[in-house]
């Protein structure tokens, strides 16, 4: 057994132990995540890598959830955003179509299930709703389909647009969907406006599994499927056509790439992932309103894709993890800690933190620190944390 294998095993075991002994410590959970990243990156046999990641995600993570339910919620959110980032990665990273309104498709999926999975549909159709929780699974596909259609509808008018122009139109599209959701309570009450829709049915959990764990497993399953679909698309003529469009649209057309079909396919594929996750999100949250689908969410997902590495599947997943964990845990933990220091009246260089004016409250630093991290990343590692690596094709009959 190589030293790396031992290290990987030890890292996972020790960090899990740390979380078990100190379930409140953010650092312990970060160590666990770091251990998973190490397992993914370290030079260890594939069986060990897959085994360790499988055990960690299927067994350890739910166990950690038993110690601290919030961590499971973080993991679930990471999964949701990972799927979103993977979808946007197709549109932006592979096909090179800058989409600033991506969260619109997430909203479309979410509202698809929210309307039919809640008593709200009675307002529109009379009676017979909400649909039973089991319909949720059918609606994963309905949400996928509806979002894909929305993707094509967005794609059609922007076929000829590039770069800045495309960005502005997609931004507008994202806002249109949000504003529609906000205002479609009249003349027909479709979305219940800013008040949102609740309660939304949940699928029946098997074996009396708690919902936190159940949704975690569902998200994990969907993310695995999305990664699989993403990989297959990327390593096919479709993925190559997308990349060719990104590299040089004119040359791609001249080489026989059907531009319209490929661009629409990119929009539809990217949107469909968001649609599926939208359906799941609405069931998980039980309540949704337009506040969950703001422009800032689109930018957040884009930041994940860029931070992770454009066009890179592991990059998108890692970017989603880093941004989500930063926002939900690290920055929050940091500001809590600073606040404690302040309340305890700790003095730094002879200056008592208790005297800080309210303008300098630590909570206000969160977004600033996040912004600084983004800026520093773009300066020092513009290609992202795990940039896309060109696939080296196995060409046995080549002497290299």
């Amino acid at each position: 057994m190589s030293p790396y294998s031992v290290l990987a095993l030890a890292a996972v075991a020790l960090s899990s132990l740390a979380v078990a002994t100190a379930p409140r410590s953010v650092l312990a959970f970060l160590a666990f995540q770091g251990a998973l990243l190490f397992v993914y990156l370290a030079r260890i046999p594939t069986w060990l890598r897959v085994g360790l990641l499988g055990v960690a995600l299927l067994l350890l993570m739910p166990l950690i959830g038993a110690f601290n339910g919030y961590y499971l919620e973080v993991a679930t959110q990471v999964g949701i955003f990972a799927a979103l980032a993977l979808g946007l990665n197709i549109v932006v990273g592979l096909a090179g179509l800058l989409d600033l309104g991506y969260v619109a498709f997430f909203a479309v999926g979410a509202y698809t299930w929210a309307i039919f999975g809640s008593p709200h549909a009675n307002v529109i159709f009379g009676g017979g709703f909400p649909l039973a929780g089991a319909w949720f699974f059918a609606f994963l596909f309905v949400g996928l389909f509806v979002a894909a259609v929305a993707g094509i509808l967005l794609g059609l008018p922007v076929l000829r647009l590039h770069g800045d122009y495309l960005a502005i139109v997609t931004l507008g599209f994202g806002e249109v969907i949000r504003v529609l959701a906000n205002n479609l309570d009249k003349p027909i009450n479709l979305t219940n406006g800013p008040k949102g829709i609740t309660p939304i049915s949940r699928p029946p959990a098997p074996l009396g599994l708690p919902y936190g764990e159940y949704f975690y497993f569902l998200v994990l399953l969907i993310v695995v499927l999305v990664v699989l679909v993403n990989r297959r698309l990327e390593n096919s003529h479709i993925g190559r056509a997308w990349e060719a469009i990104r590299e040089d649209e004119l040359a791609a057309r001249a080489m026989g790439v059907p531009l319209v079909r490929m661009k629409l396919l990119a929009f539809a594929c990217g949107a469909s992932f968001a649609g599926v996750m939208g359906v799941l999100f609405s069931a998980k949250q039980v309540f949704i309103n337009p506040e969950s689908f703001t422009f800032l969410e689109s930018i957040g997902v884009l930041a994940m894709v860029i931070l992770g590495g454009m066009g890179s599947i592991p990059g998108a997943v890692l970017g989603a993890t880093v941004v989500t964990v930063l926002n939900l845990q690290v920055l929050k933990g940091l500001s809590l800690w600073l606040n404690e220091l302040k309340n305890a009246g700790v003095t730094v260089l002879g200056y008592s933190l208790a005297d800080l004016p309210t303008q300098f409250e630590p909570a206000k630093y969160e977004r600033m620190i996040f912004g600084i991290i983004l800026v520093l990343m773009m300066i020092f590692r513009p290609q992202g944390i795990l940039p896309a690596r060109r696939r080296q094709r196995e060409l046995a009959h080549l002497e290299r």
């Binding site: 003529h237 479709i238 990349e243 001249a254 094709r393 060409l395």
Partner: protein, 263 residues
């Protein structure tokens, strides 16, 4: 017998400028060259042949099918492919991936084949790989298959563009200044390769070329454009001694020499 490729009265205007004025061009087989001073409309003609620009008037027939109004990818599927004057590779993709993109028009797989990763998909992918390697072998880039295209030296990029164009299995190949930036030796090797392609695959080739030695050596026929009009056509020898051609290239007495090479 109708020609493989026949363009008639092709006219193209950009605003007030007439880039092409009723140009006729026919090709049955072999290698034809289009020459002319800068701005004569040579590349514009290629752009119209491949569907990148719409023509304002005229007709183009390829293997008995009208081309005008078709999309570039449809024209490629019918069997016309091209290279670009200012090399337009997919710079961040590998050499072999560039060639694989060129095969796009010949791939009959759907979305479901890709997602299901069935035997049909795997078989096709490995066939594509084999063919791509064979093409790279042909242009002498087999050792660079997994290199990123942007890192290739200039001459290799030109050869890769040729391989990528060949990947679409064209019957007619349009090459826009394929020897630009090459040494005389490299240009000679490339021309031998083109001759091979004509003999082996029965390809018809149209060259836009400024290197006169290459043009005179390799062409079966030469067409001369100037200011969007065809001013001469014929065997290399005939064209070489044509008075209008000499005038177009060297200028009339007193007007000073015109540049025959791109700045």
């Amino acid at each position: 017998m109708t020609a493989l490729f026949a363009a008639q009265g092709v006219t193209k205007r950009f605003g007030g400028l007439t880039a092409l004025q009723a140009v006729d061009f026919e090709l049955e087989s072999g290698i034809a060259s289009i020459i002319g001073p800068n701005g004569a409309g040579k590349t514009t003609l290629f752009n119209i042949f491949t569907g990148l620009y719409p023509a304002d008037a005229g007709s183009i027939v390829f293997r008995g099918r009208p081309l005008l109004g078709l999309r570039p990818d449809q024209i490629t599927t019918l069997g016309i492919c091209r290279t670009f004057q200012n090399i337009r590779l997919f710079a961040n993709m590998t050499v072999i991936e560039n060639v694989l993109v060129g095969m796009n028009a010949r791939i009959a797989l759907g979305l479901w084949d890709v997602l299901s990763h069935g035997p049909r998909f795997c078989r096709t992918e490995s066939e594509l790989s084999t063919r791509a390697v064979a093409l790279l072998d042909r242009v002498g880039l087999q050792a660079n298959a997994n290199d990123v295209a942007r890192n290739l030296p200039y001459g290799d990029q030109r050869r890769l563009e040729l391989a990528r164009a060949l990947a679409s299995e064209p019957a007619l190949l349009l090459l826009d200044e394929p020897t630009a930036g090459m040494t005389q030796a490299e240009a000679g090797a490339l021309m031998r390769l083109l001759r091979e392609l004509v003999v082996d695959l029965g390809l018809a080739i149209v060259l836009i070329e400024h290197n006169m030695r290459v043009v005179m050596e390799v062409s079966d026929r030469v067409t001369v454009l100037d200011h969007g009009e065809k001013i001469a056509e014929g065997r290399p020898r005939e064209v070489q001694s044509n008075a209008r051609v000499i005038e177009a290239y060297l200028g009339t007495r007193g007007s000073g020499p015109r540049r025959a090479r791109r700045a």
